[in-house]
């Protein structure tokens, strides 16, 4: 009975555990595996610091994609940028309960208003971006041919998350204080009621599904990119062969 009553809390808790431990396990495994023969690409960085700087720059800017084509770059980089801003907005907005702009001299009401508007704008932008990513995957023949169901499933899941978030906001939003309390208690492993808002529950359920999906499928690229980019940028000094 308790389980049924608190089903969403249970799902959220499980998803957070799967997400955190799944990622840790994958990173630990990738770290432990060996790479006997180097796969450095040239021109290569001269030392590890240069390599590290290049890995970070390439991972954040998607520079290789820029060289491949501007449209593909914009589609991918723009999506990740909006996603990152939205995640940051969630972090700050929930932890500050929408009052983060008071630091800029705004009143409580004005800060909450601005927080909500920015959230709405970013949410709408992400929805459009996910739609664009879906559309180009369907429209570009070669891209459609190399796509599998997971590619579409992840996009549909993201779309569900953004749309449910957008609807939630359009319908008056959710009490950020309650959300903050819910999240805080969740990390203390305490079961507390989910804020009573249908669209928030839908939003949260889909996010939980995404968190479970994360360490199991292609979303692992978000962590793997730092390994793969390091491997092809790893310095390979010429003097090794000239000793």
């Amino acid at each position: 009975m308790t389980l049924l009553r608190y089903w969403l809390q249970v799902i959220v808790s499980i998803s957070v555990i799967v997400f955190i431990f799944g990622i840790i396990w994958k990173i630990a495994r990738w770290t432990a595996l060996g790479q006997v023969l180097p796969v450095t690409m040239f021109p290569a960085p001269k030392n590890r610091v240069q390599a590290l700087v290049r890995v970070i720059w390439e991972s954040l800017s998607f520079r290789p994609m820029w060289s491949a084509g501007r449209e593909a770059w914009l589609a991918a980089w723009g999506f990740h940028l909006v996603l990152a801003l939205l995640l940051l907005g969630h972090l700050v907005g929930i932890s500050q309960e929408g009052r983060q702009f008071m630091a800029w001299g705004l009143s409580v009401a004005a800060s909450e208003e601005m927080s909500a508007r920015m959230g709405m704008a970013l949410g709408a932008a992400l929805t459009l971006w996910v739609l664009y990513l879906t559309l180009r995957r369907l429209v570009i023949p070669s891209l459609r041919q190399v796509s599998n169901w997971e590619d579409y499933a992840v996009l549909v899941l993201l779309l569900g998350i953004t749309v449910s978030g957008d609807i939630m906001r359009l319908k008056g939003g959710v009490d950020l204080g309650e959300v903050r309390m819910f999240v805080a208690e969740l990390f203390k492993l305490r079961v507390v009621p989910v804020p009573d808002n249908l669209w928030f529950k839908v939003h949260l359920t889909l996010i939980s599904l995404l968190l479970i999906w994360f360490p199991l499928g292609k979303l692992l690229h978000s962590c793997g990119i730092f390994f793969t980019r390091w491997l092809i940028n790893r310095p390979s000094p010429r003097e090794v062969m000239s000793k």
């Binding site: 990738w30 790479q35 180097p38 021109p43 994609m65 070669s142 793969t228």
Partner: protein, 446 residues
Amino acid sequence: MKTDQPQPFMADEQDLASLGISLSRDVEATVTGMIEKMRKTRKTLELYMETCTHCGACISQCHAYLGTQDVNNTPVGRAELMRKVYKKYFTSAGKAFPWLFGAQKVSPEVLQEWYRYYYQCNECRRCAVFCPNGIDTAEITIAAREILTSLGQVPKFIAGVAKNLESYGNNMGINPLALKDMVDFLEEELREETGQNIRIPLDEEGAEVLYNPSSSDLFTNTDNLMGVAKIFHKVGVSWTLSHKVIETANFGLFFHEPIMRAHAERVFAAARELKVKKVVAGECGHGWRTWRMFAQTLVEDRFMPIRHIIEEVDGWVADGVIKLDPTRNPDPVTYHDPCNLARAAGIIEEPRRILRQAVVDFREMEPNGNKNFCCGAGSGLLMDETLKIRMKLGKVKAQQVAATGALILCAPCAICKAQLPVVMKHYGLDVTVVGLMDLVGKAIIL
């Protein structure tokens, strides 16, 4: 669209047995067992299997796809052939929801596709330059070919080259007597051309340098070896060839790591026997990758430096030890960056510095350097029976060369030098393909 070209003829069991390759019969156990084994020492394999997002950035960057319009010849499509199998056996999601994650059991039909398409990949690594995740499909091809080898699926041509390498120390199967004859002949040619006694020393103990050319330099690209002889003569370096190893190429890279290791060891053994101080590698792209990047790992008692002839000549030209007269190469020249020489082993600027001194009219093709396109025969795809597909793989290169208007195409790699003349002819281009040392040999002031 599927390509309808024939696949490479397959080696038979005897061919492979003579190379010491024992075959497995249990397909599923072999494939899964080898992937499990390989991913422990090649984390790239596991990462590449798990992190591709199918973003498609690689698709239009692959000359194989541009030439054939076959989706299995896109880097992502080719990688997917193995990724499907990997997901089925090595991921929880693929095991639980194969339809959703595109997981697939291995079968004879799957292996047929592997053989077809992993032997249409040139292992050029261009996809890795453009992939946001840095996925290098060549690594996947190398792994897939290693698995295919265990199951007895190796092109007869590649197995034959490897057998020659094992028996004679060179790809062409040149025996010591033929080698001596050829060296004598080339020395005579050099005397006629220059009026000087320029030697091509063979098996001379105590020389400073063991020069390891491509075996084709002794028969089809002889201007290259004669150019090198002139250079060593002018610089005053004592050097020698070894009849035990006249091959800088290493076909082991293309299908079986133990063969790659054996050849690396063969070179160092010859160098030790002749008591030389260093090895200088001749014009070969993938061979240079194995020396530059892998030899340190492959050969435990590697005790001397290996340099590339291009690095040596670049230094000598810069120091003024060699003087070049560019008017001896008056025709417009363009330069093809062999994939393994440039992207995979870092020789990019050196040949350009040399060319600017050696020819009157040097023209860059676009793109170039680490973004250059492959000739279409990389990774040993020089089989006659797949000529049609080779020409499709060389289509982009022909377009690149045509755009420069050059009459000479300089390609310092034996595989490129075998492929490009055929490609030029196929696409109606009146372009002569030469090596870099051919041009230096003509321009050098003795």
